[in-house]
C-alpha cells in the first residue's frame, strides 16, 4: 500500500533488520563497527580465524588494502551505481590523490623546497585537486552517454597514467619516495610506522565510516533522487526540472573526492608511489567489485570492494598439489566473477530496488 510497505516486505536478514525498532538497529550497527575494528585480530579466533586471514601477505596490510579498495568502490558506486555514469577510468582519481600528496610532501618532488609538507597538510589540497580533476573529466563528457562516456573515462585515466610515466615532474617509474606517514605518536612511538599496518587500517575504517554517512545522506535526498532520475531517463529528468549537468558534475566530483581519499591514504601508507600502480586493470577491477557487490547499494559496494582485494590476497600461499594457486589468482578470480554474476546478476547485496527489478524481470523472460 504505502511506499514503506512494499519496499520493506522483504524476507531474509534485511527483512528482519528492517522490521526492528530503531534501538535494535543501532545496537546491530554498533556491534558491526566494533567487530570491524577488531578485524586485525581475526587470526586469534579459534578454528575459523586462520581460515580467514591471509597467508602470503601480512593480514593487517591486507586489511588496509581492502580499506582503500572499499573506499574506491564506494566512490565509484556514486558515479556508476547512483548517477549511472559508466566510468572505466576511476583509478585516475586515485592517482590524482596519491600524486597530489606525493608532490606536496615527497623530497623527490619539485615542489618540495616550497612545501615539504606533512601528510596531513597535503590532504586537503590533494583532495581539492581530485575534485577539480573530477570536474575536468566531467565537463567535456557531460554530453556523452553510456559507452561513449566509458571509453572517454578510460582514456582519461590512461592519459593520467601516461603523463605520470612520461613527464619528469611526475617522475614516472622512478616515483616519489619518502612520502611522510600520517601524524601522531603513542608512547613516544609514531602511531603510523612502517611495520605495523593496523593503525592504517583503522584510519581507513574511520574514513570509510565518514564516507558512508555522507553518501547515505546524499542518496536519501533530492540529490540521490536526481541521480536516479538521470540514470533512468536523462532527457525526461531535465524536462522535469532536474539540473542534469549540475548533478552529473557533483557525481563526478564526489566520486573523485572519495577516490582521492583512497589515493591519499595509499600514499601515506606506502611512502612510495610510482606510475606502475595506476594501471587500467585497477579501474576495471574496482568496477567489477562494485557491480559484483551490488551496484547502487553501499553495503554491496563495500562487500565487492573488499572482495576484489581480499580474494587474490587470500589465494596467496594456498597450494593445490604442487601448484601455488596464487599464480592462478586472476584466472580464478575471473571465474569467480562469472559465477557470482550468473548466480546473482543483481549483485551480492543489491539495493532493494535492483533486487526487485531483477526479480520482476526474471519472470518476464519470454519463452526461448
Amino acid at each position: 500500500m504505502s511506499e514503506k510497505a512494499s519496499f520493506r516486505s522483504n524476507g531474509g536478514v534485511r527483512g528482519w533488520y528492517g522490521r526492528q525498532p530503531a534501538w535494535v538497529q543501532w545496537i546491530v550497527i554498533a556491534i558491526a563497527l566494533v567487530l570491524a575494528f577488531l578485524l586485525p585480530y581475526a587470526g586469534d579466533i579459534p578454528l575459523i580465524g586462520p581460515q580467514i586471514v591471509t597467508e602470503g601477505i601480512d593480514w593487517p596490510s591486507a586489511l588496509f588494502n581492502m580499506s582503500y579498495y572499499v573506499l574506491l568502490a564506494l566512490g565509484l558506486n556514486v558515479v556508476v551505481g547512483y548517477a549511472g555514469l559508466l566510468d572505466l577510468g576511476y583509478v585516475g582519481f586515485f592517482a590524482v590523490g596519491a600524486y597530489g600528496t606525493a608532490l606536496l610532501t615527497s623530497p623527490d618532488s619539485v615542489l618540495y623546497a616550497d612545501t615539504g609538507w606533512k601528510w596531513l597538510m597535503a590532504v586537503p589540497v590533494a583532495l581539492a585537486l581530485t575534485m577539480v580533476a573530477g570536474l575536468i573529466l566531467g565537463w567535456p563528457t557531460l554530453r556523452l552517454r553510456g559507452d561513449y562516456l566509458a571509453i572517454v573515462t578510460l582514456g582519461f585515466a590512461e592519459i593520467i597514467r601516461i603523463f605520470a610515466t612520461s613527464t619528469t615532474t611526475l617522475r614516472g617509474d622512478r616515483g616519489f619516495a619518502s612520502i611522510p606517514h600520517p601524524p601522531g605518536t603513542w608512547n613516544g612511538e609514531p602511531i603510523f610506522g612502517v611495520t605495523d599496518a593496523v593503525p592504517y587500517f583503522w584510519l581507513g575504517l574511520v574514513v570509510i565510516i565518514l564516507v558512508i554517512l555522507g553518501v547515505r545522506n546524499l542518496d536519501r535526498s533530492r540529490v540521490g533522487r536526481s541521480w536516479l532520475a538521470i540514470r533512468e531517463d536523462e532527457e525526461a529528468a531535465e524536462i522535469m526540472g532536474v539540473r542534469t549537468i549540475k548533478y552529473k558534475l557533483w557525481a563526478f566530483a564526489i566520486g573523485a573526492f572519495i577516490g582521492g581519499l583512497g589515493g591519499v591514504l595509499f600514499a601515506g601508507e606506502q611512502g612510495f608511489i610510482n606510475s606502475q600502480t595506476f594501471v587500467l586493470q585497477f579501474s576495471i577491477l574496482v568496477l567489477a567489485g562494485v557491480v559484483m557487490g551490488g551496484s547502487g547499494n553501499m553495503a554491496g559496494a563495500i562487500l565487492g570492494g573488499a572482495l576484489i582485494s581480499y580474494i587474490p590476497d587470500r589465494l596467496r600461499g594456498i597450494s593445490l598439489g604442487d601448484t601455488d594457486l596464487y599464480e592462478y589468482r586472476f584466472a580464478l578470480f575471473g571465474l569467480v566473477i562469472i559465477i557470482i554474476m550468473v548466480l546473482r546478476p543483481q549483485g551480492l547485496i543489491p539495493s532493494r530496488r535492483r533486487a526487485m527489478e531483477l526479480k520482476d524481470r526474471e519472470k518476464e523472460v519470454a519463452p526461448q
Binding site: V152, G155, L280, V342
Partner: protein, 316 residues
C-alpha cells in the same frame, strides 16, 4: 616536439599506420557488432582476438614452423597463410561463441541488467587471458616468418611492403563483405532489428538467440583475421596482446560511432595513422595518449562518434 621526426618519415609512418589501423579496424568490428545488437561492450572480445593470435601459431607449429624457421616458398607461404587464417578464424569464432554461451546467455535468460553483462565479460576476459598467461609462463611467443616483408612498390620515398598491402586490402575487403551482409541480407536485417527493438524483432519472426550468436560469430571471424595479421605484423604475441590492442580497437569503434561498421573502419585507420604521427612528432611514448586525446576531442564535437550509430537506434 620533433617536427623533422614526423616530416622526414611522413610517408612510411602513414603506411605502417594504415596497416596497424586496418588490424585495429578488423578487431573493432567485433565490438561494434556486439554493441550494435546487445548494447554492451563485449569486454571479452580482446580474448577472442588473443585466441586467434595463438591458434595460428600453434598450427604453424605443427608444420614445424617457429620463429627460427626459414621463410617458406611462395606456395608454402600461401598455404600457411590460408591455413593460419582458417584456424585463427575458427579459434576466435569458437571463443566468441563460448563467451556468449558461458558469460552472456545465462544472464540473458534471467533478463539481467546491462552492467551485469559487462562484468561477466570482464570476468571471462580475465579468465582467458590470465589462464593463457599462466600456461605460457607469461612468455612471449615469436611468430614464424610466414611472410617475409618485401618492398612491393615505392611512392616517393615511401615503400609499401607486400605485408602492409595484404593487411590493408584484406581489411577493406572484409569490411565490404560484412557491410553488404548486414545491410543487404535478410539475416543482416534481422541483426539490425534485434539491435533496435528486440521485442518487436521477435514479433517479426526474428530468432533473437540465433542473431546474437551470429553476431558474436561474425565478430570472432573478423578478430581471427585481425589476429593473423597482427601476428605477421608485430611478430610476437603474449597473453596480454588482446587487452593491449583491445583498448585501441574499442577506442576506434567508439571514434567511428560504436555500432557503425564503416565507423569502425574509419576509426581504426584514423587511430593507426594518428598514433604513428604522434609517435613521430612527440615520441613513441605518447602514442596512446595522442589517440585518447583525439578521441576526447572528436567526441566533444560529435558525441556519437564520427559517423554516428547506424545499427543502433536513432531516437529513444
Amino acid at each position: 616536439m620533433d617536427f623533422s621526426g614526423l616530416i622526414d618519415n611522413f610517408g612510411p609512418l602513414t603506411v605502417t599506420g594504415l596497416a596497424q589501423g586496418a588490424i585495429i579496424a578488423l578487431f573493432a568490428l567485433g565490438y561494434t557488432l556486439v554493441y550494435g545488437v546487445l548494447r554492451l561492450i563485449n569486454f571479452a572480445h580482446s580474448e577472442v582476438f588473443l585466441m586467434g593470435t595463438y591458434a595460428c601459431l600453434i598450427v604453424w607449429g605443427f608444420f614445424g614452423l617457429d620463429q627460427n624457421s626459414a621463410a617458406p616458398s611462395v606456395g608454402g607461404m600461401l598455404l600457411y597463410l590460408v591455413i593460419g587464417l582458417v584456424v585463427a578464424i575458427i579459434a576466435s569464432g569458437v571463443t566468441a561463441l563460448a563467451v556468449e554461451v558461458v558469460a552472456y546467455r545465462p544472464l540473458r535468460r534471467r533478463n539481467a541488467p546491462p552492467l551485469a553483462f559487462l562484468i561477466t565479460a570482464i570476468g571471462a576476459s580475465l579468465f582467458i587471458s590470465e589462464l593463457t598467461g599462466v600456461l605460457t609462463h607469461r612468455n612471449q611467443r615469436g611468430v614464424p616468418p610466414i611472410i617475409q616483408a618485401k618492398p612491393l612498390f615505392t611512392i616517393g620515398d615511401t615503400t609499401v611492403t607486400n605485408l602492409q598491402l595484404l593487411i590493408i586490402v584484406l581489411a577493406l575487403v572484409m569490411m565490404f563483405v560484412l557491410d553488404r551482409f548486414i545491410n543487404g541480407s535478410r539475416l543482416g536485417r534481422g541483426i539490425r532489428a534485434v539491435s533496435q527493438n528486440p521485442d518487436s524483432a521477435a514479433l517479426m519472426g526474428v530468432n533473437k538467440s540465433r542473431v546474437i550468436a551470429l553476431v558474436f560469430l561474425l565478430g570472432g571471424l573478423m578478430a581471427g583475421i585481425a589476429a593473423v595479421m597482427y601476428d605477421l605484423k608485430i611478430g610476437v604475441t603474449r597473453y596480454d596482446a588482446g587487452f593491449l590492442l583491445g583498448i585501441d580497437a574499442f577506442a576506434a569503434a567508439v571514434l567511428g560511432g560504436i555500432g557503425n561498421l564503416r565507423g569502425a573502419l574509419l576509426g581504426g585507420l584514423l587511430l593507426g595513422v594518428l598514433q604513428n604521427y604522434a609517435a613521430g612528432l612527440f615520441g613513441s611514448q605518447w602514442l596512446h595518449a595522442a589517440s585518447f586525446v583525439l578521441l576526447v576531442v572528436i567526441l566533444l564535437f560529435r558525441p556519437t562518434g564520427l559517423l554516428g550509430e547506424s545499427l543502433g537506434r536513432a531516437r529513444a
